[in-house]
Amino acid sequence: MTARQTAASGAQEVLMSRFDLTSRLVARLRSDEAVVGGIGNNNFDLWATGRRPQNFYMLGSMGLCFPIALGLALTQPRRRVVAIEGDGSLLMQLGCLATIAERRPANLTLLVMDNGSYQITGGQKAATHHGADLVTIARGCGLNESRWAENTAHFEELLDNALIGDRPHLIAAKIDEAPGRATTDRDPAWIRDTFMRGLGTRS
């Protein structure tokens, strides 16, 4: 773990790793959970943890990771759905937090990987770098179970809780600026078909 000074408070933050947190998530899955990886690094690191037919990798549609996961959670109420989104992408579609709060799917867990920037397009600073707090925003939208993970052990504790929760949970982590570890195969029709077969919604 590394550290970074925040522009807003000047405080030192402990930075986690996207790949490490994604690996910890995958290690906790029992097999049938659906996982949606947002544009860029967020699905690249999910891809790097190994193929699962219940993983959906987003090659475009920036900002739609949480909406796609909401559609899955509502139509697959007996399955746990986990969505992994970047801070820049979530900033583009903040309204979805209010929609998720209103629908309140018990089976939905939202993970936010906050590196304070748009890493993949050159590391330009995002509003999160200047003080925008995505957990506070999520709570303001009505997602009461929204928390910052303080370190990896805390992340795992929050995740264990979320995966048995009876309402949607959002867990955000401050991460370093490392790029994703692999590149997802760029074959969207194959990704979608494999995913649906993995869920049993297409045979």
Binding site: M58, L64, G71, Q76, Q93, T99, E102, P188, R192, L199
Partner: protein
Amino acid sequence: MARWFDTVAAVLKRNEVRLVTYVPDKVLAPLIRALEADSYFTTFCPTREEEAAGIVCGGWMGGMRGIVLMQTSGFATLANVLASLALPYRIPLLMMISERGTLGEFNVGQAMVCRSMRPMLTALGIEHHTLSRRDEIDFIVDRTVNQAIATQEPAAFILSPLLTHAKRQEA
């Protein structure tokens, strides 16, 4: 003859199109009311059309057919989502667009955005049909829903003022 929105709701139900997301529009209001009144449908209002489309795409992959209801100006925000999600992933995203900006529009902005709608649908190669007659709704919607699912392609229905305008509602 049945009111246009009752026919639309009946055809969607017959084709098991259950998940309905919308961004409000005055012309769509009676259809939204009809769908919300029937618990067969899961009908709700996300904050923007991109989000509404993402939810329906997720719902399709989760095993439920769905449709997004919006007005012309909302459709104009969707080019990227169609070109980077619904089309390349081959998701039969259904869209119903109430056509504002023509046949008596007072707002020039609506008129201008309206002119972008069919060219954009054509540029993206998306099957689309204009609903302007009550006696054609059932045939067009029923067959287009089936085609979208069989071919795994999105499709759009445009609700013309010829169908929806108050002056056109006499029995």
